[in-house]
Symmetry: C2
């Protein structure tokens, strides 16, 4: 079995890096300060400003801020653009739409452990807590805030904590209220099957909030169904029904004395790559489809199949909203429901609408600071502890590893992986001390899972595999094991010892194996007492560039 | 040439009317009060509540409120539904989405006569004026309000006059201001090429408002381009480029200290029937596409073709916003632009965003009352004048014609056409009196054009052809001419006399000829002095049911 090469340093033939790249695309992405605002990234030119016969002239290797770069001189206008090699070789795994199923974690009720929730005061005071809640709305479709003051209009404060209230014909907020002896039958106590709200609005409000002020009724529990998951099931089980529902615009309508709304949208809306992007489902406000009889037959068959699927008990997450709870959910994805209840006590919710784009923006801004602050905190707090019998602290060890990777000219994602490879020692259920006492803390997995909240697999997978890489190198590289530190030799046993031939072959076949081996080598070297290393702040811009959008 | 039959009364075989209609569809549309709220039309049941083996049981003819109807008894649950024959035979010409190109009038600059505009005080005080402005935004994509007070925040009052303000990261409103000696270069005086706003928001704000408070600068004119028209041109001239732009999601982004927005949407968005539905165009905020090189080549070629097309001078409507002007436009369709200007004087606009659904709702509610009020006003006002030498007033004549059609069991659209056939005498440039003085006022065309604002061709075309029908009947029906009233015989000459054989054949071949002849016969009979006729209010529900959505 051949030894694994450490990842090659970036190609140094600058012409090869831009060969085959469309000139218009490359020039449209020129990062120079006369082409775009360095802060906002907004371009200063129009695509029609570029000459028709635009072509790459000369190509030269450059170093910019310590990173490899390529300078292109353009023909015919002589403009110069400098591109980081890192940027040129990016294959942007985040390409795509965070609104589509590709950016979501689909679920049925049993997949969810504890509900994604937070205390209102913690949510208000801690950026990390707020980011966690908003991230859950984006990824799972909902989150629950607890102990929101049970005062009228508080639902608007919740909406404004992450975005903008979408006023509708129901006002800025609406009341869902049942009195023990209701005057108005509209305040009914009947069960309401899963549906989305306001399908007759276009654009539909993409977020709904429901704040519970009072719930003394028996029954009246809340339910949520992941409409993306249900649609994906339909696609799997009955592709033809799925196709019918994606291509039939359905008229939705609402009419009262002051409003008359109509929208024509399919029940399941796809993006141009045929990924599920929006679900609308509400028989109450569906109008009359006027289509040839055979198309109506096909639509109604598909519609009933989807409706039945949405009622499968395993899809329905149920819980009870208590006074002070505020549910936030994605109204383009989740269907909400309410069980019937006895009119034994008052029940009063206040609802409001908002939009996902404002939430995503708030989350992105929070992440800019909170992720890097959280990581910095790991280095300054728990990382300042002794490193498992080595001569350096854990933080010094990781900073050394990051610096070694950087000095080796490694691409940004490997510098980050080296820098962060041991974060699993801090947050996991089993501490590093316990590891030294003989219990494997699986810190490579814990760390990779933690980092996966913020970074892509190019960062997390080398971290996940860096312990396996040690076991692999012990198996395949003569002399490697003898160079391990004493503590590392000890933990090797706890972690399972050198790999056997079969495991080593399997490891070598993993796509991230070479990167993991590279990280491992920097890990092994990064144990020098009193080595001068940059501090965490030095790596902040590099880490920021790798954060998932 | 055979005589034309009067339109047959509705088919009386009730079973034939429902044969072939899918039972699920028919039952889902049951109009009974236990199936749906008679006021809002919201359904009380879920589609899954209907039995799998639902089938039509017995079918019986009924008369309901003087109209033909069909009663269906359902198997197996015995539910009864009563459907108006009128509803069963509707082929809903309004089916479809008022957001797509199908609901729009596409334009280039020369197609537009005077700009769609209104005075702010008239817009506020007159429902008809307000409806006219909102209808222009819906159909043409924009309208201009004049004499809006030049006070800050007035733009919000304009937005709230038809809908709801969409707050964004720029606030409820934003200032576009250039000072003669600007502190901040962002307040630039450069030309801005046609673009849509906020493509990085999802949902994108669908309406933009720009209110001019000050414009003492030289230059700085405003421009609008119909993006739907441009996209339709691209589809015609370069279908492959059009296809590429509809299926490539483009990343748009915006980033500042407080916001970070990204959206992935195609430049041209289609509905499931492949009709143009939204256009986004803004090179400034387009991010980096990451696609295989050949796809990037194709995208950039298509993008530049579309960009060049959008700059064609004939597409650009230019005008100057003066203080007090407020422009309202569809941000999913129209691109807006600004010419460069000299910094000789201050220029200050305030902008805000809103949404098309709120506007459409306001317009629909206004139409409920304003259209019918306008028509009622014609009957009570100008219609109370003598009817061109007959023994009845114009209003009595039209009410008699409508009543005759109703008594004959004619379908609603023909009752409406009979009732409204002479409205062209009122509003046109040449009066009925001038007709009697020898000038053809072409009142059938004037009336049909007036009615086309509110009714479909099933109403307008019989009105348009009712004069031609007289000239036709004189040519082909022995004895018809002899029965004409004296005034009608006189106007026959002004209108061109009996048709020749060729014209009569052409007329008979028109799709609306039979309906026009039917209306003509009621017209001819409806001249009886002191006949008891219902008043206009009697016909209001029937007219309301025919109003275009």
């Amino acid at each position: 079995m051949p030894d694994l090469p450490i990842s090659a340093p970036p190609a140094t033939d600058p012409a090869a890096l831009v060969a085959g790249l469309p000139p218009m695309w490359l020039r449209d992405n020129c990062p120079c300060a006369s082409c775009r605002d360095p802060r906002s990234g907004q371009k200063f030119f129009q695509i029609t400003d570029l000459p028709d016969d635009l072509a790459i002239g000369t190509v030269t290797a450059r170093r910019v801020h310590g990173a490899d770069a390529v300078e292109v001189t353009w023909s015919p206008d002589g403009h110069r653009s400098v591109y980081a090699v890192e940027w040129l070789t990016t294959r942007d795994p985040a390409q795509g739409d965070h609104r589509s199923e590709a950016g979501k974690q689909l679920w049925e009720a049993a997949d969810l452990g504890p509900l994604p929730e937070a205390d209102w005061s913690a949510y208000l005071s801690e950026d990390g807590e707020r980011a966690r809640v908003l991230e859950a709305v984006q990824r799972l479709g909902f989150a629950l805030l607890r102990s929101v003051p049970t005062e009228e209009d508080q639902v608007l404060a919740v909406a404004r904590s992450f975005g903008f209230v979408r006023e509708t014909n129901y006002g800025e907020l609406f009341d869902v209220r049942v009195e023990p002896a209701p005057d108005n039958l509209a305040f009914s106590s009947l069960a309401i099957t899963p549906h989305t709200d306001n399908p007759y609005r276009d654009p539909v409000p993409t977020i709904q909030l429901l704040h519970c002020l009072q719930n003394a009724a028996e029954g009246g529990d809340s339910g949520l169904v992941d409409g993306f998951h249900a649609a994906a099931l339909l696609r799997e089980e009955d592709p033809e029904a799925f196709a019918v529902l994606t291509r039939t615009p359905v008229p939705f309508g609402y009419r009262d004395a002051r409003a008359e709304l109509t929208a024509h949208r399919p029940l399941i809306d796809l993006d141009p790559m045929d990924r599920i992007r929006e679900v609308r489902f509400n028989n109450r406000s569906m109008g009359t489809l006027r289509l040839p009889a055979h198309e109506l037959e096909a639509f109604y068959a598909a519609y009933r199949t989807f409706a039945a699927l949405l009622l499968r008990p395993e899809l329905l997450l149920t819980f009870r909203l208590e006074p002070g709870d505020c549910l936030i959910f994605d109204n383009t994805r989740l269907l909400h429901a309410r069980t019937a209840f006895e009119q034994t006590g008052a029940r009063h919710l206040q609802g409001a609408y908002a939009d996902l784009d404002g939430l995503a923006s708030t989350l992105a801004v929070l992440r800019r600071t909170t992720v890097l602050d959280e990581l910095a905190e790991l280095f300054h707090g728990p990382g300042s502890a002794d490193y498992l019998g080595e001569a350096v602290t854990q933080a010094e060890h990781m900073l050394q590893a990051g610096a070694l990777a950087e000095a080796a000219g490694a691409p940004a994602h490997l510098v980050a992986a080296a820098l962060l490879h041991d974060v699993g020692h801090f947050g996991g259920p089993v501490s590093g001390d316990e590891l030294m006492a003989g219990t494997d803390n699986r810190h490579s997995h814990t760390g990779a899972d933690l980092l996966a909240r913020w970074f892509g697999p190019e960062v997390t997978e080398p971290v996940r595999l860096h312990v396996a890489a040690k076991r692999y190198l012990c198996a395949v590289e003569p002399g490697y094991r003898a160079r391990l530190s004493e503590a590392s030799e000890y933990t090797l046993h706890v972690q399972g010892g050198p790999m056997n031939e079969q495991d080593a072959a399997a490891f070598a076949a993993l796509p991230g194996a070479a990167d993991a081996v590279a990280v491992r080598r920097w890990d092994d070297e990064a144990k020098e007492a009193d080595a001068a290393t940059p501090d965490f702040e030095h790596f902040r811009p590099l880490l920021a560039s790798l954060l998932r959008r």
